[in-house]
Amino acid sequence: MSNLISIKSVTKTFTKGKTTIKPLEDLSLEVPRGEFLSLMGPSGSGKTTLLNLIAGIDTPTSGEIVIDGQDISKLSRAQLTKWRSVHVGYIFQLYHLVPILSAYENIELPLLLGKFSKAERKKKIHAALDLVGLSDRADHRPSELSGGQEQRVAIARAIVHDPELLVADEPTGDLDRESADSILSLLNSLASDHGKTIIMVTHDPKASAAAHRALQLEKGRFTEEGHLLTHQSPS
C-alpha cells in the first residue's frame, strides 16, 4: 500500500522569551493510506506539534512533509488554508462546534468553501449524519446534544467534504468511557471501511489500542526509533 504521508527529518523550533524550544527534532515518519495511527506521549513530547504539522496548521523549521505527493512544508499560509479545506478533516478534543448553528449547519461549514449546490450539500450532510448515527439530530444545536453526540457531529463535519486525511487531537479526552469507545469504534470504521487515513493524538492507552498502529513520542523523537506498540493491519 502506498504512503499518504511521508515526513523526512522534520525539526520544529520556536523561541519563548530568550529560550529556544525544540518540540520536534529530526523526525521521520511514513504513514500508509488507510492507516489509523495513534501518537502517544507525555505532555510536551511534541505529539500535538507533529499533528499540527501534518494537518498544515503549522510549518516545520526544517525538513519535508509530503502528503499525497505534495510537499506542504513549502506552502504559504494562504495556500495551506486552501489545502486544508480539501485534504484534511480536523477533530478537536472539545469538539468546537459553533454554538449558534444546528448540527446540520455545523456540518455544512466545510462544504460552503466548495462549489456545491444546495442539493449536493444536503445529500453529503445527510450521508455524514447517517455515518455517525445522528440522522435524527440534524436540527439540534450543540447545547442540546451530549458530549458524545457533539463529538460525532464534529466527526461528521471533518468527513463531510470527503478528505483522505483525518487528524484528531485527543478526540475522546473529554468523554466518558462508553462514549469514548463508541467514538473510537467510529474512527476505526472510518479507516477500515472507508479508507480514511487517521492520525490521532491521545494520552489514553485504551484509545491507542483502537488504532492500527501506535507510536510513542518523547522529547520530540519517537522512542525505540518508532517501533510499533501495537499493530493491526488496515483491512
Binding site: N52, A55, I57, D58, R77, A78, T81, H96, L109
Partner: protein, 378 residues
C-alpha cells in the same frame, strides 16, 4: 451570502451587548440626521438656483416686518418695469420678530390674486372658494396646520388676529408651508397698520438672469421717494436676516461630526470585543479552511450590520421626529421649516453603513493576524 447570515446569527449570541451597541449607534445617527436635516433645510432656504425668479421689495433699512411699511400704490409702478411677470403686495404680521422655534406668520394678500401669483399652491383640505367667500378666512400651510393641529372650519387667534381656517395648502416653496394666508385688507385692519400700507412686494421676473437688473430698477425708481426700497432675491434676504440662526446651525455641524466619531468608536469597540471573545472559534474556522479574507469579511459584516440596524433606527427615528414635530425656525418674519428629506435619510444610512465598515476593519485584521497555532491554544 452565507457569511452574512452567519454574521447576523453571531450578533444574537450576546443579545444585550448587540442591543446596547445598536441603541448607541441609533442615538448617534439620530443626532447626525437631525444636524443634517437642519443643514439641508438651511441650504434649501438660502442657496439660490436658476429656478429662483422671485424678488422681495422691502422698505430700506428694514429690521423686522413691522418696520417695513411701503405704500400699496407702488404696485402699478413695479408692474410696469420691463421683465416683471407678476407682483403681489403682502402684509406680514408675526408674533415674534427675533429667532424663534414657534413663529406664527400671517401673510395678507389680495385674495383673488393669490392663486394667479402662485399657481403651485394647492388646497389639500377645505376649499379656495371658502377662502374667497369670507373676509376672515385663512389658507394655512401644511406645517403650520400640523404644528397647531388645525383643520378647515377651526378658528384660531394669534398676534391679535382672529381667523377661520378655510383650507390647508401645500406648496413647493418652504415659506408657504409655514404661514397663514389671509385677505390683505382684513390683515391691514386687524393688525392696525391701516389700509394702503404693506410690508413687502413679492415680484416674479421673467427669468433668473433678469433678477439683478429688475431689482436695481425698482430701487432706482423709488430712491427719491419717501419710502425708498431694498430689493433682493427672497433667499438672499433670508441668508442676510437669519445670520445668527445660520451661524448657530453651522455650529451644529460639529455636533454631527462628534456623533459620527462616537458611532465609529462604539462599533469599533463592540466588534473588537466580539473578535476577542471568539479567538478560538476564528481559529477553528481557519482550521476548517476558511481564509483570512473570509473570516475578515464575516467580522466586517457584523460591523456593517450593527451600523445598518442602528442607522435605520436612528435615521428613520429622526425623520419621523421632524415629520411629527414640524419644527419651524423663524427670524424677522422669514421662516425656516426643518423638514426631513429623502437625500438626508439615504445619506444617513450610507454613513451608518460606512462607519460600520470602517470600524470593523481593524478588528477584522486583528481577528486573523495571529498565528493559527497560538489562536487554537488561546
Amino acid at each position: 451570502m452565507k457569511l452574512a447570515i452567519l454574521a447576523l446569527k453571531n450578533l444574537t449570541r450576546n443579545r444585550l451587548r448587540s442591543l446596547l451597541t445598536i441603541l448607541g449607534v441609533a442615538a448617534g445617527m439620530f443626532l447626525y440626521s437631525a444636524v443634517q436635516t437642519m443643514q439641508h433645510s438651511l441650504s434649501r432656504a438660502t442657496e439660490s438656483s436658476a429656478a429662483d425668479t422671485t424678488l422681495v421689495v422691502y422698505r430700506e433699512n428694514r429690521f423686522c416686518p413691522s418696520t417695513s411699511r411701503l405704500p400699496e400704490h407702488y404696485l402699478p409702478t413695479i408692474e410696469r418695469i420691463e421683465g416683471v411677470r407678476e407682483v403681489i403686495p403682502i402684509q406680514i404680521a408675526v408674533n415674534n420678530c427675533g429667532a424663534s422655534l414657534d413663529v406664527i406668520t400671517f401673510r395678507g394678500v389680495p385674495a383673488e390674486a393669490l392663486q394667479k401669483y402662485n399657481p403651485n399652491i394647492k388646497v389639500v383640505e377645505g376649499s379656495y372658494e371658502d377662502f374667497l367667500a369670507r373676509n376672515d378666512a385663512a389658507l394655512v400651510g401644511q406645517h403650520f396646520a400640523e404644528r397647531r393641529s388645525l383643520s378647515p372650519g377651526d378658528k384660531f387667534e394669534a398676534v391679535g388676529v382672529n381667523v377661520t381656517v378655510a383650507g390647508i395648502i401645500s406648496s413647493d416653496s418652504p415659506q408657504d408651508e409655514n404661514v397663514a394666508y389671509v385677505h390683505l385688507p382684513f390683515l391691514q385692519q386687524a393688525s392696525r397698520i391701516g389700509l394702503g400700507v404693506v410690508t413687502q412686494f413679492n415680484v416674479k421676473v421673467e427669468s433668473a438672469d433678469q433678477l439683478q437688473r429688475v431689482a436695481d430698477q425698482i430701487d432706482e425708481t423709488f430712491k427719491s421717494d419717501q419710502q425708498p426700497t431694498n430689493t433682493r432675491p427672497e433667499k438672499a434676504f433670508f441668508a442676510e436676516t437669519a445670520k445668527q440662526m445660520i451661524e448657530l446651525i453651522g455650529f451644529t455641524r460639529w455636533l454631527g461630526l462628534g456623533a459620527v466619531f462616537a458611532v465609529l468608536g462604539l462599533v469599533a469597540n463592540a466588534v473588537l470585543l466580539i473578535v476577542r471573545g471568539r479567538v478560538k472559534e476564528t481559529a477553528i474556522f481557519q482550521t476548517l479552511g476558511y481564509s483570512r479574507l473570509a473570516i475578515g469579511t464575516m467580522v466586517v459584516f457584523e460591523g456593517i450590520l450593527l451600523g445598518l440596524i442602528g442607522g435605520l433606527l436612528g435615521v428613520f427615528g429622526a425623520m419621523t421626529f421632524f415629520h411629527l414635530k414640524s419644527f419651524t425656525l423663524g427670524n424677522e418674519g422669514l421662516t425656516l421649516a426643518l423638514t426631513p428629506s429623502l437625500s438626508v435619510t439615504l445619506t444617513g444610512l450610507g454613513v451608518a453603513v460606512a462607519l460600520g465598515l470602517l470600524a470593523s476593519l481593524y478588528p477584522a485584521w486583528k481577528a486573523t493576524s495571529r498565528p493559527l497555532v497560538q489562536s487554537l491554544n488561546a
